[in-house]
């Protein structure tokens, strides 16, 4: 049999595409034909090795990026397990108010640990020490086959267990090709380990911060999850110009475990202490609304909910949408991020509010992390 045919067979075997009969004859041939069996094993090794190399290459490029960010010492990218070097706004008080919006859900240390150790259960290691030297290699191979198989199964169906989250906030998609989600920088600071997003159907996907700017309080996450299915173009456009005073708006976000709709209007063109990067809105926003999109009646996104005035109900501050364009311009200068593109196909202008909300909500995500 030709090597290419064996390769094809092995990959069908690993991905679980073989039918029962084919599988039986394949296993039978492996048992009876030692040359065939060796070719199969060699190919499995080779594929494993190739995939490992891919992972190492990805790791290297991530390291390189971290290093170059470190050298440039510009905007702090990535989360905040360690001290965040970043451009804080001159007004630290504003940030303190801001941080209070991302709600902190109790997270016992033990439960985080158990979440992280979950993966280990899949690797059982009985009898290893009792095995003879030459058996060890075989055992390792078998476990590799098992790993490859379980990976390919994961690709298809198995939903992962839900993350133990320390907080909850909101974010929205702006680029369906790269799956970039915009949220607040202060939201990302809540996470010290993992980030995930959850859509309005309750499906959870892992995400990673690719851009954080504490000055504008904007961050961009990338959904890094093979289970995430690409969405059609974003239904809202992002407004370049300033919104008008008195413009009516609606917001969608996750102040609770389900998506919540709210209405309001632009009540001032500047934010807290005349901050020109923010609007003041009159609306009800609660903890968890951080990162919620603010959309006007034409379906244009004019801002991102970020802060509220402590003790003054209904006074909410939203980052002006022009800061999103600034963020995109900065991202375009970074090699790995330069593909970013706003993928919107404005389809809301002629819809009524109910239909606008229907179209938009699929693009609004709960942001979680620990």
């Amino acid at each position: 049999m030709e090597e290419i045919q064996i390769a094809e067979m092995v990959e069908r075997y690993l991905s679980g595409e073989m039918g029962d009969n084919e599988l039986m004859s394949f296993e039978h041939k492996r048992k009876t034909d030692s040359i065939f069996n060796k070719a199969v094993i060699d190919h499995i090794y080779f594929i494993q090795h190739l995939e490992d190399t891919g992972k190492i290459m990805a790791l290297k490029s991530k390291l390189k990026q971290i290093e170059s960010n470190d050298l440039k010492n510009e905007i702090s990218t990535f989360g905040s397990t360690s001290k965040v070097i970043s451009i804080w706004r001159k007004n630290r008080k504003t940030i303190a108010v801001a941080a209070s919006i991302a709600i902190v859900v109790s997270a016992a240390c033990a439960s985080i640990i158990s979440f992280f150790s979950n993966g280990k259960n899949t690797h059982l290691k009985p009898l290893v020490e009792k095995m003879k030297e030459q058996d060890v290699k075989y055992k390792k191979l078998e476990s590799q086959i098992g790993k490859l198989k379980s990976e390919s199964i994961q690709n298809n169906t198995t939903p992962s267990p839900k993350m133990e989250s320390k907080f909850r906030a909101t974010g929205f998609l702006i680029d369906v090709n790269n799956n970039y989600i915009v949220t607040n920088a202060h939201v990302i600071s809540e996470a010290s380990n993992q980030l995930a997003v959850e859509n309005n159907k309750g499906e959870e996907f892992f995400a990673e911060p690719v851009y954080i700017n504490h000055e504008t309080d904007l961050a961009v996450l990338k959904i890094q999850d093979k289970n995430f299915k690409k969405l059609p173009p974003v239904p809202y456009s992002i407004k370049k110009n300033e919104a008008d005073l008195g413009e009516t708006v609606f917001i969608l976000g996750y102040p609770k475990e389900e998506i919540v709709y709210g209405e309001g209007y632009v009540s001032a063109k500047n934010g807290f202490q005349m901050d020109p990067l923010f609007y003041q809105l009159n609306t009800m926003a609660k903890e968890g609304n951080s990162g919620s999109p603010v959309i006007n009646k034409n379906g244009e996104l004019i801002g991102v909910i970020s802060q509220k005035r402590d003790g003054e109900e209904g006074v909410v501050f939203a980052i002006k949408s022009s800061s999103i364009f600034d963020a995109i311009d900065e991202m375009k200068k970074i090699e790995d991020l330069k593909n970013i593109q706003l993928t919107s196909q404005q389809s809301l202008r002629k819809s009524d509010r109910i239909n606008q909300v229907k179209k938009v909500q699929e693009y609004i995500f709960m942001i979680k992390g620990n």
Partner: protein
């Protein structure tokens, strides 16, 4: 939370290549590696190479179900990096007296050799992939690294259909295999 627990979580994050974990490890360990390497007549570039190699070893450890983190990542990774730099140093015959402190490394010489051999094989695969040329390289990467479905690959690479793309992919894979093993002999 104690530090070791925190580091075990970081290691978990690393096993998923979570950027914030990688970043945290970098921030925590890189400065001391840089100090060590430049203190022993290496350049910043050397330090960066050594750190990268050390991170790859730590990453592979993070995937090994038998590996148990017994010291802090900082201690472990620093010791690994020091050992890597020492070996490089010896290879370049610039030998100077240097106490090799492996107390933090549970790995014995044999295990170390195995790890080094593994590094070499990974590098060999990477260079085989590089010399494969286009469109094979991207095709292989799309399928085996990014796990793109064949349908998507077909349209991205402008093949008439998924079957056609599949055939091309296998041909590329066979060429890669040849290159990889050729290199081994050579």
């Amino acid at each position: 939370m104690d530090y070791l627990k925190h580091d075990i979580m970081l290691l978990r994050g690393l096993s998923r290549q979570d950027s914030s974990s990688i970043n945290a490890i970098y921030k925590d360990v890189y400065p001391s590696v840089l100090n060590m390497v430049t203190g022993f007549s290496g350049s910043a570039e050397d330090a960066s190479d050594v750190f990268q190699e050390g991170m790859i070893i730590l990453y592979e450890k993070s995937l090994d179900p038998d590996f148990e983190l017994k010291s802090l990542i900082k201690t472990y990774l620093y010791a690994v990096c020091k050992r890597i730099w020492l070996k490089k140093w010896q290879r370049d015959k610039k030998t100077e007296e240097w106490v090799d402190d492996n107390s933090q490394l549970a790995d014995n010489e044999e295990e170390w050799e195995r790890m080094m051999q593994r590094q070499e094989e990974l590098t060999r695969m990477e260079s085989a992939l590089k010399s494969l040329g286009e469109p094979c390289k991207s095709l292989i990467e799309a399928y085996y690294f990014k796990k793109m479905p064949m349908m998507e690959i077909a349209s991205a690479f402008k093949y008439t259909n998924a079957d056609n793309a599949k055939t091309q992919k296998y041909k590329c894979l066979m060429r890669l295999k040849k290159l990889f093993f050729q290199d081994k002999k050579g």
